[in-house]
């Protein structure tokens, strides 16, 4: 069961939002606590005011009764003074109490009842008693002792109830506010603790999921810079961190591959350098030997007297050695052309039979120890190509056949038409090519044991020959057994004309 990976950015955003909501919640809870505390304070003040108002009203009522009774007992109008004063204040005091209880229906009802009782006290009792007292103090006195005591007791009970109810109400409000405040504080504290824990967890998450992988990636990059390309990071990090480590590993892998490639190229370059260095030695040796002949015989001819026959003989040697120098230089130049990839291809009709005969004759003069046997049919075997280059290939193969059979012997040179191609074979009875060296003999500068055996050459002849043959659309190869001899063959596409005709015959593709 796999979920799509949630990106690190999303996770961090979500975590931040949760934390922000939590902190706001904590703040709101604390504000509510403060608000509840203030409400409790207000409620207390209001309740105190209500109580005060009730006590004032009760005092006024008692003043009324006191003044009334003093007057009734003594008959002296001076004693009526508290009554008069209270009566003036009574209206406001009643309205005050009613106004202050407007928000509390229970207390309002009690206040209204008290108010009605006071109005009845005034209308049904106090005023009639005063009227009676003007005529009959005794009757008024009785009325106060009976009716007044009853009404005042009743009112005092009402006030007592009212105040008790008010106290009860205040206490209830206070309890409610306290509870609210306590809950809010508890909520705030819990929220703070939860926020702290979440922030710690968030920090831990950041540290484990981001800081540590990033640290590892940084350490890994340092190791990488120091050259340790085998290092791989754990790829389990969340979102972008996982991508970072995956990219890092990919980069390390690529770097490793690149380094391996570079090392390989470097090895190839070193090998190439070694071959070039060998070439310098080879060139130096190969050029010096014929040059020794040229310079030595020239010097002899210049400094000593010889008869004309000897002179001619020496000049012939100088000529041959100078030609060999020229050939060597041609080989080196051909090698350069191969390296630079340019080889001219003159398209001419070349008869391989004639070419083989001419080359065989040329080389038979150079090595009296060898017999060069040319076995060709009477008909020409034409190919299209560059006659100088083809001559170079055949000359090189004949020269090799001679060089690598130092004991002398027969070199067989044959040519025949074969499936629209012309196949030339040059077979010697020489030392052969060891099996281990056979794969390399077309490699530039490869000379096998030739140098140690003292066989001259540049190691370029076969490489040049192969290039020429392949540029003519043909192929070159050999079979060889060590100690028995070697047969090289060259196959070239036949031009198949008759004599000097050009073009392909119908049966050829």
């Amino acid at each position: 069961m796999s979920r799509p990976p949630v990106s690190l950015q999303t996770r961090l955003l979500a975590a931040s939002v949760v934390l922000a909501v939590l902190v706001i919640g904590v703040f709101v809870a604390l504000v509510l606590a403060a608000s509840a505390a203030r409400t409790a304070t207000n409620e207390e003040a209001r309740s105190k005011n209500v109580t005060t108002s009730a006590l004032q009203l009760e005092k006024l009522v008692l003043d009324l009764e006191t003044g009334l009774r003093g007057y009734v007992l003594t008959g002296n109008a001076d004693f009526l003074q508290p009554y008069t004063s209270a009566k003036e204040l009574l209206g406001d005091a009643r309205r005050d109490l009613l106004a202050r209880t407007e928000d509390e229906p229970g207390q309002q009802k009690r206040a209204v009842a008290i108010n009605r009782s006071i109005i009845q006290y005034m209308g049904d009792y106090a005023r009639p008693v005063l009227l009676i007292a003007k005529d009959n103090l005794g009757a008024a006195k009785d009325a106060t002792q009976n009716e007044g005591t009853f009404r005042i007791d009743q009112l005092q009970r009402d006030f007592k109830n009212f105040i008790a109810a008010e106290n009860e109400l205040a206490a209830s409000h206070k309890r409610s506010a306290d509870t609210k405040s306590r809950h809010a504080i508890e909520l705030g504290v819990a929220g703070s603790v939860a926020s702290t824990i979440l922030i710690l967890l968030f920090g831990l998450y950041l540290s484990r999921s981001i800081a540590r992988p990033v640290r590892e990636a940084a350490d890994g990059a340092s190791l990488l810079a120091a050259g340790d390309l085998s290092l791989r990071l754990s790829e389990r990090g969340p979102g972008e961190v996982g991508e970072l480590t995956r990219s890092f590993n990919e980069m390390a892998g690529r770097l490793g591959e690149t380094r391996a490639e570079l090392e390989e190229q470097n090895a190839q370059l070193r090998e190439s350098e070694r071959l070039k260095s060998d070439l310098v030695n080879t060139v130096s040796h190969e050029l010096r030997t014929p040059l020794s002949g040229v310079l030595g015989f020239t010097k002899l001819l210049l400094t000593r007297d010889f008869d004309s026959e000897t002179r001619r003989h020496y000049l012939g040697i100088i000529d041959a050695q100078a030609r060999r120098l020229a050939e060597l230089i041609d080989d080196f130049l051909d090698m350069r052309r191969i390296e630079e990839g340019r080889f001219e291809r003159a398209q001419e009709l070349v008869d391989m039979v004639t070419l083989l005969r001419e080359e065989a004759q040329l080389y038979s003069l150079q090595s009296p120890k060898h017999r060069l046997a040319v076995e060709v049919g009477p008909r020409p075997l034409p190919v299209m190509g560059n006659p100088d280059r083809l001559r170079q290939v055949i000359g090189n193969l004949i020269s090799n056949a001679i060089k690598y059979s130092p004991q002398g012997g027969i070199v067989e040179i044959s040519a025949e038409a074969e499936n629209g191609s012309v196949r030339v074979e040059i077979r010697d009875e020489g030392m052969g090519i060891p099996l281990s060296q056979q794969p390399q003999i077309f490699t530039k500068f490869f000379r096998g044991d030739a140098a140690a055996s003292g066989i001259s050459g540049t190691g370029l002849g076969l490489a040049v020959s192969r290039d020429i043959v392949e540029s003519h659309g043909g192929r070159i190869g050999f079979t060889s057994a060590e100690g028995e001899g070697t047969t090289f063959f060259v196959e070239l596409p036949g031009a198949n004309g008759r004599g000097g005709e050009q073009g392909n015959s119908p049966e050829q593709s």
């Binding site: 030997t289 040059l291 020794s292 030595g296 015989f297 130092p406 003292g454």
Partner: protein
């Protein structure tokens, strides 16, 4: 009455063997070898007074020929003049037991003097 000295010429290049022959005074007897094995065989046969030895020889290298000549009781004292186009240093060749060292291309007179010095020693 001085008998004719025998010079053994070891070089794989016939033209150079002829050049060496032509460079030297008349009055020497010559033996010629085209490879290292033939050189050793011929040395034992003709007991030369001096050997002129190319280092680049087929079958057996010149340095190997030099070492075997030095190891042979009969041939140990025969002076060997090394003549080479290769890049060995003079010191190495002399240390290997050669009497003299001539580089290709060489002056005919230089070789003649070297041979004369070796035979008259």
């Amino acid at each position: 009455m001085e008998s004719r000295k025998t010079v053994l010429i070891c070089d794989d290049e016939p033209a150079l063997r002829e050049l060496i022959r032509a460079s030297l005074d008349d009055g020497y007897l010559f033996a010629e070898a085209g490879d290292g094995v033939a050189a050793l065989d011929l040395a034992g046969e003709v007991n030369p007074d001096v050997v002129i030895l190319d280092l680049m020889l087929p079958r057996l290298s010149g340095l190997e020929v030099l070492a075997r000549l030095n190891a042979d009781e009969q041939l140990r004292d025969v002076p060997v003049i090394v003549i080479t186009a290769w890049n060995e240093t003079r010191e190495d060749v002399l240390a290997a037991g050669a009497a003299d060292f001539v580089t290709k291309p060489f002056e005919p007179d230089r070789l003649r003097k070297a041979v004369r010095a070796a035979t008259e020693r």
